[in-house]
């Protein structure tokens, strides 16, 4: 007994020793790369393309950070993390931040000693069923078997939803997306549940997507956003404001195509401050004055990233919905750059 406790401690000591709370930016600069924690494969958000390169909505934000810090969007090392080991990896210093479809919740923010620094996607948990089941609402799922990917907030939302509606269900919690998907396709469960965004990705990757429908109910709030360790406010600021810069760029009409032109300076002081033609916002962050220009040039603004990876023209086909700018009835809103 004693022995194994000690060996466990040994293993953890090795991990924990790697974690230091301060000066993440210095470490990153020394390393020459950002260690960005992403999912093991969620189509649209982070997955590998045919050449094995990471692609997706979350990946673009990592690339923007790489561009802002090193002027090189490829200066990013992608650390693929499961929903189970992501926080351990973050607190042990294996990843500098998570862009890993991670839901911002109270206990994660407070108890797990992580900081959520923004919301890059407003999501909610949804249900997918085979069309042949003839179900049109999640309220008709009494007694159904539900496939869940474990290690997420999904289990609790699911349990709450069925309890509130006085229904019973059989959970089938599976370790990974691939296995859960296979079981769902074979009919080992009636329902597949996860965040609606990921659900669209899963549906798109099924053999016959048209045979499955996503039910209209969204049963939870899942604000997904970047996560960093507690205690390094400088690094937190860089992650937060790089994301804000991309949102502000969309609002101000700065795009990948015109950013170089606009960076020369113009009449709009907010654009000038954002792009470094006026003021010294970049230096305050410890970066170059044109950090936002580099980021936008690498990935485009928030709207461009959205459309390119998960928008309606892609196989994922997600509408902007809550993720539209506040000026267009959505929730995406950047605090002012001044």
């Amino acid at each position: 007994m004693k022995k194994s406790v000690f060996f466990g401690a040994l293993a953890f000591a090795g991990l924990a020793a790697g974690a230091s709370s301060a000066a993440t930016l210095d470490e990153i600069k020394e390393r020459g790369k950002i260690n960005c924690g992403v999912t093991e494969g969620t189509l649209g958000f982070s997955s590998r393309d045919a050449e094995g390169k990471h692609q997706g909505f979350d990946v673009e934000f990592c690339r923007a950070l790489g561009a802002a810090i090193f002027d090189d969007p490829d200066a990013v090392e992608y650390v693929e993390l499961s929903s189970k080991n992501r926080f351990t990896a973050l607190s042990a210093g294996q990843a500098d931040l998570l862009y890993r479809t991670t839901t911002w919740t109270f206990s994660r923010d407070v108890d797990l000693k992580t900081s959520f620094v923004g919301i890059n996607y407003y999501d909610g948990q949804g249900f997918m069923v085979p069309k042949s089941l003839g179900v049109s609402s999640a309220k008709e799922l009494e007694g159904a078997t539900v496939c869940i990917e474990t290690g997420t907030t999904t289990e609790l939302n699911l349990s709450d939803f069925f309890r509130v509606n006085g229904m019973s269900y059989e959970p089938l919690p599976v370790g990974g997306t691939t296995e859960a998907k296979a079981l769902f396709e074979e009919g080992a469960c009636d329902v597949y549940t996860t965040d609606a965004s990921a659900l669209a990705g899963v549906r798109a990757s099924l053999k016959d997507p048209s045979a499955f429908v996503i039910l209209p109910e969204i049963v939870s709030k899942e604000p997904l956003g970047p996560t960093v360790r507690h205690g390094d406010n400088e690094w937190e600021d860089i992650v937060r404001w790089t994301q804000n810069a991309l949102v502000a760029a969309e609002e101000l009409g700065v795009t990948q195509a015109n950013v170089a032109e606009m960076a020369k300076g113009g009449d709009n002081p907010e654009i000038n401050r954002l792009l470094g033609a006026e003021g010294s916002l970049g230096e305050m962050l410890g970066l170059s004055p044109d950090w936002a220009v580099k980021a936008i040039a690498a990935t485009g603004n928030y709207g461009e990233i959205f459309e390119r990876n998960i928008g309606e023209s892609t196989p994922i086909g997600l509408a902007r919905g809550l993720n539209a700018l506040w000026t267009e009835g959505g929730l995406q809103y950047s605090p002012p750059f001044r």
């Binding site: 040994l10 953890f12 206990s107 799922l141 496939c147 349990s159 959970p171 599976v174 296995e179």
Partner: protein, 417 residues
């Protein structure tokens, strides 16, 4: 005056700890022990300090919080409003369940296979050898996947049982349903139930206790009856027949009690998406059980084979000379001697199977690793505590199996005379 003098009394000196061969060994051992202990202590304190620095001191109070998640396969009462400790307990029972089922099935298959492996029939022994080589040389996780996905792909979905002309039907007078969600079997129910006793962590059904007590009483009676018969046989040479009386003593009281309590079988029935009622053995349990069993059986086959081959050939020749048929030679002469070689190997296979059952998480069987080390760990973020607890529990299970099997080994081992 005696001229014999006592040997000079040696004064113990500190330097003897190093220069005296009698003490040096002990000195070195103590020194190394201290070194190892301080090294381990340094690591442990390092972990504790680092965790505290991360703002996560080691505490176990999260076990008392509401778990909030559901578990499909459970042996005791559990709901999403139960605590994490309760979820851990449910997971522990599930681990023990699959470990027990796996060990039992692997032992039976392994002993049969081991004997067949040595069969004189070329085809039979080669077939077993082929099975052993295929299953032993592929990781058990893959076999678990194969079993699970084969089961879910081949067995019909519950909806196939629906309609006027269903594609699938139930077996044994509509009481057993094979679906790709699991096997649904009838459960014993009582129309005049006696209720349950709450023993703190789970409920014990009084009906079960009554039936067990009656069965045990019957068996005790039967043994007494046999002893009496033996005594009469010793005295008179005639053995009174006992079979019928014994059978009646063991079975009748239980049957009468079951009828009195209004025993009936609750059949599972299709309701909505799934079968309801009855005992459900989930597809994950079946997949895991099959995978573990098929894999571990190969090792037990080899253990049995090596045990049998280790018995001196003279033993079987002697048995043949006495006129014993091959079957009886195996049962009465070879196997009892082979057991002492087989059992130590069986112990390690049982331990392996139990530990391998932690692969359950891959196919959604809620064992200890999926509950405490999975959802609980993730919801509470208490990695260190959860992993330490897991290790302690697995260690306890393994040591218990080991102690039990060693006790059995001591009973059956060859007594040297």
């Amino acid at each position: 005056m005696s001229d014999q003098s006592a040997p000079p009394k040696e004064q113990f000196q500190l330097s003897m700890l190093i220069y005296d061969a009698r003490y040096r060994g002990i000195t070195i051992q103590i020194f190394v022990l201290l070194l190892v202990m301080s090294g381990l202590f340094w690591l442990a304190s390092n972990a504790v300090t680092n965790l505290a620095a991360l703002g996560k001191p080691i505490r176990f109070d999260f076990l008392g919080d509401t778990a909030g998640y559901d578990i499909n396969q459970r042996l005791v009462e559990y709901s999403s409003q139960s605590t994490h400790a309760r979820a851990t307990f449910v997971g522990l029972l599930n681990t023990l369940l699959v470990a027990f089922m796996g060990c039992a099935a692997a032992t039976i298959l392994g002993v049969v296979g081991g004997v067949l492996r040595l069969s004189n029939n070329w085809l039979v022994s080669r077939m077993v050898a082929l099975y052993v080589e295929i299953f032993r040389n592929v990781p058990v996780l893959l076999w678990i996947f194969v079993c699970m996905f084969t089961f879910t792909a081949l067995a019909p979905q519950p909806r196939a049982f629906r309609g006027e002309n269903p594609e699938a039907s139930m077996y044994l007078w509509d009481s057993v349903a094979f679906t790709n969600r699991g096997i649904y079997m009838p459960e014993p129910l009582f129309s005049r139930p006696l209720g349950n006793i709450d023993v703190g962590i789970f409920l014990v059904s009084l009906e079960l206790l009554v039936v067990l007590a009656l069965l045990i009483g019957g068996i005790i009676f039967a043994r007494k009856n046999n002893a009496r018969a033996a005594r009469i046989q010793d005295e008179t040479g005639d053995r009174p027949s006992t079979g019928l009386v014994n059978a009646a003593a063991i079975l009748l009281p239980s049957i009468i009690a079951l009828i009195a309590m209004g025993f009936y079988l609750g059949k599972p029935a299709l309701a909505g998406f799934n079968f309801k009622g009855g005992i459900n053995m989930s597809a994950s349990l079946i997949g895991l059980w099959l995978g573990l069993t098929l894999y571990t059986t190969t090792y037990i086959i080899e253990a049995v084979r090596s045990g049998i081959q280790a018995v001196n050939k003279g033993q079987s020749e002697a048995a043949a000379a006495l006129g014993l048929r091959p079957g009886r030679t195996m049962n009465l002469v070879i196997l009892p001697q082979a057991m002492r070689i087989i059992i130590p190997q069986l112990i390690s296979q049982y331990l392996n199977l139990t530990k391998n059952s932690s692969l359950a998480v891959a196919i959604g069987y809620m064992d200890l690793v999926s509950t405490l080390g999975g959802i609980t760990l993730n919801q509470t973020g208490r990695e260190m505590e959860a992993i330490l607890l897991l290790m302690a529990i697995y260690l306890t299970i393994s040591l218990s199996i080991s102690v039990g099997m060693n006790w059995y080994n001591n009973r059956v081992k060859l007594v040297e005379r």
